[in-house]
Amino acid sequence: METKTLKQLLKLIALILVLSYTIDKVVFFSLNTISDNVMSGQAIGKLNQFLKVKDTTNLLVFGNSRANHHIVVDKLNPNAYNMGINGIGIAYNSTLINTLNPKKKQTVIVHIDTKNFFNDAYDGSDIRGLKTKYNRIDKITSALNESGKISSLQNIFYTMNYNGSAVGILKNFIRPKYNHKTYNGYDPLVVNSSKAEARDYMLKNDVAKKCLDNHNVNPIALDYLMKIKSFAKKSNKTFVFVTSPIHNDACSIDNNILQDILNENNLKFWDFTNLYKTNNDDTSLWKDKTHMSNLGAEKFTTHLLKKHQAYTSSLK
């Protein structure tokens, strides 16, 4: 490369760096302003609403889509919020739990699934779902830094925090998906008659999977569980860990190991995996193999409420 070309190239790179850095900051702060006002949608609205109500509710539910669709929080407490989000795991939940005010008296239900704990591939990358709050909320920033799931470029180009979610945020800003003032985080799965036939066929052919040979606990999942435990210890909250029903689970080894781990750590765990296994013929309770319909969720929450009431009265 000639010296003249090299000088031109360096000049161009310098100009690109300055301008791209400036544009990045302008867009980032604009997106911050917009996203802070978004209260609907899974991209950021649900998280914003959670951050707004987390220290004023009596009961909080954390977990993945199964928590979101299975626990009718209104039935448990009129002032409750379901923070279940599709596709997330214990890393995301543990980080959010650690943002709660430890002094506030609350009941915290953490929905956990064995698949996080016995999956070798689980690496805690679901924590990236909180990246829109990176460099904005201290506890989330430090958890993200500690996880190593954040690119170092993110400290230069802040808009990377909105990677993949910018369009969803704009869409929910212009046209909110629902009225957040009446939303408690629970999303019912209604199975209409046109989908019921396909659901019935799927459940009829639901062959239970055999147990895997590997029952080693994933160290990353376990580490995040311990973070919840240490927070629970110093907080004024009642923690309950729950696994909601699955249509046809043949393997109980993983559930038993998980039960032992939670027992050893003095964490209350209710495993409802096989709660409806004996009446598998009633397909109306299900949307698919792992998700219950709104009817199933109502029935399950009633059961959970009774169990919870018995447990809280035993604590008194």
Binding site: M1, T5, Q8, L9, K11, L12, L15, I16, L19, S20, I23, D24, V27, A43, F157, T159, M160, Y162, N163, G164, S165, A166, V167, G168, K171
Partner: protein, 279 residues
């Protein structure tokens, strides 16, 4: 130098933003093709057609642009292939380094079109079958090459019978349909799944479209629209991407590259490797 910088960033955008975002939807549909209806499989196949194009052309742009920065000029590898009226034209615009090699070292070596019409058809078919096998020892690649060879031969026959040199505007649609049907065999894991996908699409029983993660789907459609709009602009202006960067002043190029960097930050996807790394 400016052309090189421009080409590198356009390549990055094509690969990291467009192709990888399309790939998320394609993988989720092709990974469970049995449960999807015709409309979903059709959209996933169209997405794949653009995914493989933007993936490979983006990779080529990055390589050619980088070489240009060091004073090496390589021939272009893609020239807006989906703007082709015939399959013959498509192969003059798609993966040009391979197609010209196949033409020069296989088709012409076999006799090309100098030994009569029947031998010409045989040569076309053999060249494309071997071109398919170049991608891997799978029947799917053979069928992919066979479809191209068959339609190239049919085109040659049609042109000589009708005494025409190309098709009218309808040819764009014809070429795209042939290419995407062939892509099904290229993308599907085996012959059985490819056959199922083809039969589901051509049963014309189109139901509601599976969107998967709505945010990811909308991002993919948005980025695809931007990618196609850039190609359409290049096609209309009849200027190649390689020549486009020369037109820009330093300030204009800086603005364009900065906007591309912003789009990369907002839409990059890390889920995919370069598709052609497997070949």
């Amino acid at each position: 130098m400016k052309t090189g910088v421009f080409q590198i960033f356009i390549g990055l955008f094509r690969k990291v933003a467009i192709a990888d975002n399309l790939g998320v939807y394609v993988d989720s549909v092709y990974g469970n093709y049995e449960i999807h209806n015709g409309s979903t499989l059709l959209v996933a196949t169209v997405f794949y057609a653009f995914q493989i194009y933007f993936d490979f052309s983006g990779y080529s742009d990055i390589a050619i642009g980088s070489a240009k920065m060091f004073g090496f000029n390589f021939n272009r590898n893609f020239n807006l292939p989906y703007f082709s009226k015939t399959l013959t034209e498509f192969w003059r615009r798609w993966h040009m380094s391979l197609s010209f090699w196949l033409r020069d070292y296989l088709y012409i070596s076999l006799g090309g079109n100098r030994k009569g019409i029947a031998i010409t058809y045989r040569n076309l078919l053999l060249t494309m079958l071997l071109g398919g096998l170049w991608h891997g020892s799978s029947w799917n690649f053979v069928i992919w090459g066979g479809i191209h060879g068959l339609f190239l031969s049919l085109e040659k026959y049609t042109f000589s019978a009708l005494k025409i040199k190309t098709f009218n505007a309808f040819g764009y649609l014809y070429t795209f349909i042939v290419v995407i049907v062939a892509w099904i065999f290229f993308r599907a894991p085996d012959f059985e799944s490819a056959a199922t996908i083809v039969s589901t699409i051509f049963s014309f029983d189109f139901g509601s479209l599976f969107l998967g993660d709505i945010n990811k789907f909308v991002n993919a459609v948005l980025l695809l629209t931007i990618g196609v709009a850039i190609d359409l602009r290049l096609f209309k202006s009849k200027v190649s991407l390689e020549e486009f960067g020369v037109r820009f002043s330093t300030i204009r190029l800086t603005i364009i590259v900065s906007i591309i960097i912003l789009l990369l930050c907002l839409f990059y996807s890390t889920t995919e490797n370069f598709i052609y790394f497997q070949f």
